[in-house]
Amino acid sequence: MKFGLMINEGPYNHQASDSAYLFAKAAIEKGHKVDRVFFYHDGVYNATKLTQPPQDDRHIVNRWKNLADEHGIDLVVCVAAALRRGIVDENLSPGFRISGLGQLVESGIQSDRLVVFGD
């Protein structure tokens, strides 16, 4: 099955990004495909390369990047939500790209399931 994911909350503050990551990993392990993860609302904070968690904690941003590298996942950050919150190309983590909300709607059309992680 082809999944699209949407993440609507920031990292560390909320479980949404963790749950989505674990879901993506589990789905891939079961042989499913995760095509795209779309970051919206405060979810855009999952894409800043300035993130520096304590050494003994998970690195949520790099974890997404690594999973995307391994499995060809398209990590898309909403441009309007990003600009509002100061996420721009200069502080965007490698592995992510900034684009429009059309990418979310397209993901809904092309995926078998679009799964939303948020409040």
Binding site: G102, V105, G108
Partner: protein, 135 residues
Amino acid sequence: MTEATGGIEMDEDSAGTIKKFMFVNRKAPYGTIYALESLEVVLISAAFDQDVSLAFLDDGVYQLKKGQATKAIDVKNFSPTYRALEGYDIEKLYVEKESMDERGLTEDDLIVDVQIMSRAEMADMMDEQDVVLSF
């Protein structure tokens, strides 16, 4: 790519596919940005010629309340946008009766024409959708 419409060019995979999209609005219009940013997705989805509907439940019913006056909190009153949805051919607005009753609201309190339905009918409506986006 422009800020508002970035990425709306469809590739061949999605051209011609029409899915049932439902946007579920569950939060009050102010206090958090969910309602406003939800509306931004709704407007973009209109460009994709999909079968779009909006559902309002829980505090989300307040998004359609008449007489929103936001000057004192220095936030833009975006409620007129709901009236503009018709111009985007988005005409399916569903409001849950129980949520209205719980908050003492009636159809006369709302700024747009909606279809009021019971919680059970709303569940059936969600079941019919291909894509449900909850905000």
